[in-house]
């Protein structure tokens, strides 16, 4: 009886572990390997990572792709602008999401869950479609331009689509629920008697908010920020559909190198760069979450 349970136990651990090794760890290692080889025509479009010579494997690694990453302004700019766009989008999302989360957490108990559900509902509809919806609104004969033209506020259509502005809008729009939820979670658990105590001690509402509520809600703000910033770093669809030719984001650059230029090794090097870029805030978030769990 005990042996049976042990066999079942090893299966339960073994199956997902094997899957994770094969489909998560191994692929990442392969990306690393391919980032160190050269592009060539043919299939597969890269030189082999190691060859067998008289029974022993020989590695052919070269850092050419990485040298290119650091020397060519395009790639450096792409990394920097990805960080910039992701960060500013996250801040904008914060300014919209915080008041919403606050309002919901102060609402009546019975309406809170429906209100939250309404925030989360868009997430369940297609990401692609939601981003696509903005093309219809922002383009030159889209909703906004039509309205502005009709009311005589402008003479020629504003270039709203295919701009960095549109990309920011797209990212904020798509990831807003991820900012609202963590902030709400923290605010909901807040003991509102803190505010009452502050009022009792003579603090006016705004001051009480700044000195009591805001500091206490920072863990949620931090979590929400990272939940928007991290995926935004590597975003592809939003910059592709809403961005212009000069909107540089790493996800898009990677895609172009891979599909248009067929330079798999360079794309892999970009991928490794992106991975490193994402790992920094991601490990930060894990540490904060661990501390939160322990608390």
């Amino acid at each position: 009886m005990k042996a049976h349970s042990q066999r079942a136990g090893s299966f339960v651990i073994g199956l997902p572990a094997a899957w994770l090794f094969l489909f998560v760890l191994l692929p990442l290692l392969i990306v690393l390997a391919i980032s160190l080889v050269e592009m060539r025509t043919g299939s597969p479009p890269y030189t082999p990572f190691f060859t067998w010579e008289s029974g022993l494997p020989r590695m052919h690694a070269q850092g050419g792709n990485y040298a290119l990453l650091f020397s060519d302004r395009l790639y450096i700019d792409a990394f920097l602008s990805s960080i910039r766009i992701a960060a500013t989008s996250a801040f904008i999302a914060l300014f919209i999401a915080y008041p919403m989360a606050y309002a919901i957490s102060r609402a009546k108990e019975s309406v809170r869950t429906p209100l939250l559900m309404l925030v989360v509902l868009p997430f369940w509809t297609s990401f692609l479609i939601r981003v696509y919806a903005w093309t219809g609104i922002l383009n030159s004969n889209g909703l906004i331009n039509n309205a502005l033209l009709n009311f005589g506020l402008i003479k020629t259509p504003l270039p709203l689509l295919h701009t960095e502005f549109a990309v920011h809008l797209g990212i904020v729009y798509s990831y807003l629920p991820f900012m609202v939820l963590p902030i709400f979670a923290v605010l909901e658990k807040l003991d509102w008697t803190y505010l009452e105590a502050a009022a009792d001690l003579g603090a006016r509402p705004l001051k009480a908010f700044l000195r009591v509520t805001l500091p206490l809600s920072l863990p949620g703000v931090f979590a929400g920020f990272l939940l928007v910033f991290i995926p935004a770093l590597g975003e592809f669809i939003v910059p592709e559909l809403l961005g212009g030719p000069d909107t540089l984001m790493i996800g898009r650059v990677l895609w172009t190198e891979f599909f248009s230029n067929r330079d798999w090794p360079l794309a892999s090097a970009l991928a490794v760069g992106l991975l490193v870029l994402v790992l920094v805030p991601a490990t930060l978030m894990f540490r904060v979450m661990r501390k939160g769990e322990a608390a």
Binding site: S5, A8, F11, I13, P16, A17, W19, L20, F21, L22, F23, V24, L25, L26, L28, I30, V31, I34, I96, P99, M100, Y102, A103, I104, R106, T113, V119, P122, W124, T125, S126, F127, L128, I129, R130, A133, W134, T135, G136, I137, N139, N141, L143, N146, Y173, L176, P205, I230, P231, L233, G234, E235, F236, I237, L241, G251, A267, A271, L274, V278
Partner: protein, 272 residues
């Protein structure tokens, strides 16, 4: 006090408007007769008619539904195993590594996941001869990989909420570990498993980036069709399709939420 509620109301109104107006516009313009999508002429359902006659979209939808259903099911099975595995593991190091790997697909940008899986399939193709042709199978495997990550998070959360005494009581009453799992743990996990399946299904149905990397000739999923279409600009048929997708997703979520809330209430009351 009045100031506060006025402020709160306006904030919420703006927020929800921001979230829903684009979707509403999509829906409204799907009934616009004019081919110039954003110039309103008159109400018409012709685009829906054209949509239903569109074989390419029909095939893509059917493929996507099958891939999504299959990968969601596999994701949930693997996710349940992973959730239990993490509960069982004694060694802190092994559990940490496992946990890191399980949550990696959640953090990794899609382009990275897509690229890495494609390179894996190419590598496997070169070394062991499989997969020869990339297509629905490789898309499915990729979707299972990230679906499993989400499923694990959802199921693990529910598992940790269960009163450990319940499984102990089952054992005390004579149930072996497998009987305990079947008669007590699994029924109590059902809402979470259901939610995880729905989540994995939705994510699979929506995936563009990863599918683009790992697909092959003949395997065009619905998102891929939509993406190539919208890259060229706004399309009225896509509006109609988008409306249908949004409305069906909304219905599904409403039903799921109602079901899950009923289960939540029951579990909460039982705990007190």
């Amino acid at each position: 006090m009045k100031n506060r509620s006025a402020f709160a109301l306006s904030v919420l109104a703006f927020g929800y408007a921001f979230l829903y107006v684009p979707i509403a516009i999509l829906i409204i313009y799907s009934f616009n007769d004019s081919r110039l999508v954003t110039v309103w002429s008159h109400f018409s359902t012709r685009w829906y008619g054209e949509l239903f006659r569109n074989a390419q979209i029909g095939d893509a939808l059917w493929l996507s539904l099958r891939v999504a259903a299959a990968s969601a099911t596999a994701s949930v099975v693997l996710g349940t195993c992973a959730a239990f595995a993490m509960r069982r593991m004694r060694s802190l190091a092994a559990r940490g590594a496992f946990e890191a790997l399980v949550t990696t697909p959640l953090i990794l940008p899609e382009v990275l996941t897509g690229l890495s899986l494609l390179l894996l399939f190419v590598f496997l193709g070169e070394t062991i001869g499989w997969p020869g042709q990339r297509g629905a199978v490789t898309i499915g495997l990729a979707h299972i990989t990230f679906g499993m990550a989400y499923a694990t998070v959802v199921i693990r959360a529910r598992l940790s909420q269960l009163d450990p005494a319940l499984e102990e009581a089952a054992a005390d009453l004579g149930a072996t570990p497998s009987r305990t799992f079947l008669r007590v743990t699994l029924p109590l996990l059902t809402p979470a498993i259901f939610a995880a399946w729905l989540l994995a299904f939705t994510l699979s149905l929506d995936d563009v980036v990863i599918a683009s990397f790992v697909t092959g000739p003949g395997a065009t999923t619905l998102p891929l069709v939509i993406f190539s279409s919208v890259r060229l600009g706004v399309s009225p048929q896509i509006n109609a399709l988008a409306t249908l997708l949004v409305l069906s997703a909304a219905c599904l979520i409403l039903i799921a939420t109602l079901v899950l809330r009923r289960e939540e209430r029951r579990m909460q009351a039982a705990k007190e």
